[in-house]
């Protein structure tokens, strides 16, 4: 305890004075607050939770001491979560309480600022994807993928029930997708990849196993950091089957790689929080963009432009009849609370970078991955990259020794990498400073010796 620790006898965030409370009870006409509770005795709870109250300072100390148990590691983990430097501007502006504490913009007349920021976020995604519509947030890439599948079901429901995804995919992503389609007729199947990217012939065979594919999903880059080279062909395969072509990506990759609209993508999903959030144990921001024809079927919130009573431009949530609070069981999704504030941060981070900064960031993801792969490849006992593909940000390396042992040894030296096979590790450069990469190469040199 510290002498400036303050304790209250109740909630520190309730402002009631004794006099005020008495006056209020009197106005209501009861003697005590207890009288206001209409809870049958049988279900009353009186035991207490056994949770101690703490001062603000003690609470901060508690959380700090718990979180200090996390090791201080240089993370070379990637796969949609990167440690890109976030300009200080983002924290300072996004933390303004008007942004942080306001609710969904159901009263647009007093929410113009947030609506405009979300409109700008949508515009960013429209520019990045080339698709006409982007919603203003889903939870993360996995749930956005699930929503894409239910969209596919709605718009292609006459044609079938198969959803195809590559065999190279994060577990959490596929599992989430399966939960999202559990209540529909859809089934999820994998199609093969070859050397880290889509095997288009095999995809075609998989599609041809029936005429009932509603959606083909591919990623660029893939979970292994490889850049997909045959997006147009994949799109054509999907198109040929009258299935939606859903592409997974992220705002940084999209700044450099082929524009989804140009390769026939119908929907783009992904995790937009690669900009705007530090690695946050998987907390994300679901990117969701699609063609204009699906406008009335889009899940999630949309901000549009309108006019106010004085004919001035004004922003508002629009097409709300798609949403659960109006359409209930016929809504396009059950999403309500979303990730608006993360979208704000992402928009701020992107705006701080500007188009030059975003393109540079992506380019450096390519060149720095190449450079690190070459340096690792120079080590005896390491071959990198494993896949004969272009890479961005991350790549798989083969190690002669067992990969789990290598990873464990590296962790002891302060570096976190993926184990992706018995003799394969995956390494990511994004957000890792040059000097830390130097240290990593030095550690690898020791580890594989």
């Amino acid at each position: 305890m510290n002498e400036s620790d303050t304790y209250t006898t109740g909630s520190p965030y309730a402002p009631h004075t004794d006099d005020g409370r008495t006056a209020m009870l009197e106005a209501i006409g009861v003697d005590s607050v207890d009288e206001l509770f209409d809870i049958p005795e049988a279900v009353r709870f009186t035991d207490g939770f056994g949770i101690d109250a703490r001062s603000e300072r003690e609470t901060r100390r508690l959380v700090r001491s718990v979180l200090d148990r996390n090791a201080d590691l240089t993370e070379l983990l990637g796969r949609g979560h990167y440690g890109y430097y976030i300009p200080s501007l983002v924290d300072h502006l996004a933390d303004r309480s008007e942004f942080l504490t306001s609710y969904t913009q159901y009263q647009p007349e007093v929410s113009q600022g947030f609506l405009q920021a979300l409109f700008e976020y949508q515009s960013l995604l429209v520019e990045l994807t080339g698709l006409e519509i982007a919603n203003c947030s889903m939870y993360d890439a996995a749930t956005a993928l699930g929503e894409a599948a239910t969209l596919a079901e709605r718009v292609r429901s006459t044609s079938g029930h198969r959803v195809l995804v590559p065999d190279l995919l994060r577990d959490g992503r596929r599992s989430t997708l399966e939960n999202y389609v559990a209540g529909t007729d859809l089934t999820v199947e994998s199609y093969p990849t070859d050397d880290g990217t889509v095997d288009v012939d095999a995809l075609e065979s998989t599609v041809d196993e029936g005429d009932d594919v509603v959606m083909v999903y591919a990623e660029n880059p893939t979970v292994r950091g490889t850049i997909e080279e045959q997006l147009e062909s994949i799109g054509e395969v999907a198109d040929g089957a009258d299935a939606l072509f859903v592409l997974g990506s992220d705002p940084v990759a999209l700044s450099l790689l082929q524009r989804p609209a140009d390769v026939g993508a119908d929907v783009v999903i992904g995790d937009a929080s690669v900009l705007g959030l530090p690695t946050s144990y998987g907390m994300g921001l679901g990117l969701f963009a699609c063609r204009e024809e699906f406008l009335r079927q889009v899940p999630g919130r949309l901000v549009g432009v309108s006019e106010d009573a004085t004919d001035r431009r004004a922003f508002t949530l629009t097409l709300q009849t798609r949403e659960q609070h109006i359409r209930r069981e016929r809504a396009t999704s059950n999403i309500c609370t979303n990730q608006a504030w993360v979208a704000l941060r992402t928009a701020m981070h992107a705006a701080s970078l500007g188009p030059n900064g975003m393109v540079d960031l992506a380019k450096r993801g390519v060149t720095r991955a190449d450079e690190l792969a070459a340096r690792l490849d120079d080590l005896d006992g390491v071959q990198a990259p494993v896949h004969d593909r272009h890479h961005i940000r991350e790549f798989v390396a083969r190690v002669d020794q067992p990969a789990p042992a290598i990873a464990e040894d590296l962790e002891k030296r302060g570096f976190a990498v993926h184990v992706v096979g018995e003799h394969e590790i995956q390494v990511c450069v994004a957000g890792v400073p040059d000097d830390d990469l130097d240290d990593f190469v030095a550690a690898m040199t020791e580890v594989v010796r």
Partner: protein
């Protein structure tokens, strides 16, 4: 006070030529056109935008069922700790702090809800509902009762309940209220059958009324083999005085951005942890956190992830909205038993006091943390717009439909008597005003009344769709 779009300040097109590209031309896009602005310009842009937003720190925000509490500033500090920034794919050994915090939060929430097991994965309330529905489905399936295809939902329930049940593949059976605004037991009896998978209930319900027959309701649902789901949106009414687990609920979600004061962020992120009774634990999403057998050298407990035996798998790519969970943990740890119980008491006191001070009719009662007034002859949506002119945020309107022209009002515990009096004065001033005044409202806000129809009729959803004359 008008702020141009970023795109109206600058548009810079970056050519991605083969020349300086590290990739072959056919793997890259042609160009990227976005605003290129300096930090001072951005700081002003977002500062001005923020000034056009009404937040919790602007004044009372009595949105019914949204529980707009004050968001303690210090919770932002703990979520911003560098040690909180960890990658989801790290080894368990290297994130013992994260796992410990999650474990302790699971424990806190279990105690608060009277539940045996808790998952923290759902990133929002609706996602929590979805977990509940998926868990129920898995449970029934596991018991060979996969035929159950109906979910019963009271008419006055949150829209997400209906949408979630539908997303889960269930038919929705809508349940009317009785004349007291509560569950009509006869109607419930009629709705229940061997096809009932679950009944989703909010308690207190959206009218703020406690479902006094909750024990009987639970028995009825359980008797037909159904599960009872608790929508946690209104949990702020009961903290420390009643627990869903004790009332017979089998599954519940918690809205930490409501009950546990994490910020709403203009729509999110929130978090919707789900608690279940022991019988349902094996079906919870994977992974969850538990204490491991081993201790550290200094005798501290260690933690590990595990997959429940019959897990439904993931409902989020990772573990949900981690940073939100950190804030919720900090809030609960700060308040403790006494603070949480006091928060509910004052939330209920405030709602009752406010209701006693306004001139609109409040048809149902006794209510707890929120009440639904009727705007009577006035249009509730217009009433809301006009309240904006008095510098306060209006209540939720036109819902639940059981009250005509509903004004669903939840002041929460953070308002003082003075603020409630100011809010009541706004209600009462508007109550006296003419339809013409109401229809013209708001007039003192950043934007005047916004045309929703034209926005939806010809949607313009990005700056790419704005013609020159719009700018």
């Amino acid at each position: 006070q008008y702020e141009p779009l970023l795109s109206e300040k600058d548009q810079t097109s970056v050519d991605i030529g083969a020349g300086d590209s590290p990739l072959p031309d056919d793997l890259t896009r042609d160009d990227l056109e976005l605003p290129e602005l300096s930090e001072p310009e951005l700081a002003r842009h977002y500062t001005r935008l923020s000034q056009m937003i009404y937040g919790i720190d602007s004044g009372p925000y009595p949105l019914g069922s949204c529980t707009m509490k004050y968001n303690p500033k210090f919770t932002e500090d703990v979520a911003a700790l560098p040690s909180a920034a960890v990658h989801p794919d790290r080894s368990e050994e290297s994130i013992q702090g994260t796992l410990e915090l999650l474990y302790r939060l699971q424990d806190y929430l279990g105690r608060i809800g009277g539940m045996d097991a808790v998952t923290l994965q759902p990133p929002a309330g609706a996602a929590g509902e979805f977990v509940g529905i998926r868990v129920a489905a898995a449970y029934h399936e596991h018991n060979g009762e996969g035929h159950r295809d109906e979910v019963i939902i009271p008419e006055s329930a949150h829209g997400t309940n209906f949408a979630t049940a539908a997303l889960g593949g269930y038919d929705v059976v809508s349940l009317p209220s009785d004349e007291d605004g509560r569950v009509d037991l006869d109607a419930l009896e009629a709705a229940l059958s061997e096809n009932t998978a679950a009944l989703m209930l909010t308690n207190p319900n959206t009218l703020g009324l406690f479902e006094r027959d909750i024990e009987e309701i639970a028995d009825m649902v359980h008797d037909v083999g159904g599960l009872l789901y608790y929508d946690g949106a209104n949990l702020n009414a009961l903290l420390g005085r009643a627990r869903p687990g004790d009332m017979g609920f089998d599954v519940m979600h918690y809205n930490v951005h409501k009950t546990f004061a994490t910020p709403h962020g203009g729509g999110g992120p929130g978090a919707g942890p789900v608690g279940v009774v022991a019988e349902l634990e094996p079906f919870l999403p994977a992974p969850r956190v538990r204490e491991a057998d081993a201790e550290t050298n200094s005798g501290q407990a260690t933690y590990e992830l595990f997959d429940p035996d019959h897990t439904i798998g993931n409902v989020h790519g990772f573990q949900g909205n981690w940073l939100v969970l950190v804030k919720a943990f900090a809030y609960i740890a700060r308040l403790g038993d006494e603070g949480l119980t006091d928060a509910s008491a004052k939330a209920v006191l405030n709602a009752n006091y406010l209701a006693s001070q306004i001139e609109y009719d409040v048809p149902y009662g006794p209510f707890h943390h929120e009440f639904v007034a009727s705007a009577g002859d006035q249009d509730a949506a217009d009433v809301a717009k006009r309240m904006l002119d008095y510098g306060v945020h209006p209540p939720t309107t036109k819902w639940p439909e059981i009250v005509p022209e509903a004004l669903m009002t939840e002041p929460t515990e953070i308002e003082s008597k003075d603020t409630l009096d100011r809010l009541a004065a706004a209600f009462n001033a508007v109550a006296q005003e003419s339809d013409e005044v109401l229809e013209d409202a708001p007039e003192r806000t950043t934007a005047r009344r916004i045309d929703q129809t034209s926005a939806a009729r010809s949607p313009r959803l990005s700056w790419h769709e704005l013609a020159e004359e719009d700018t």
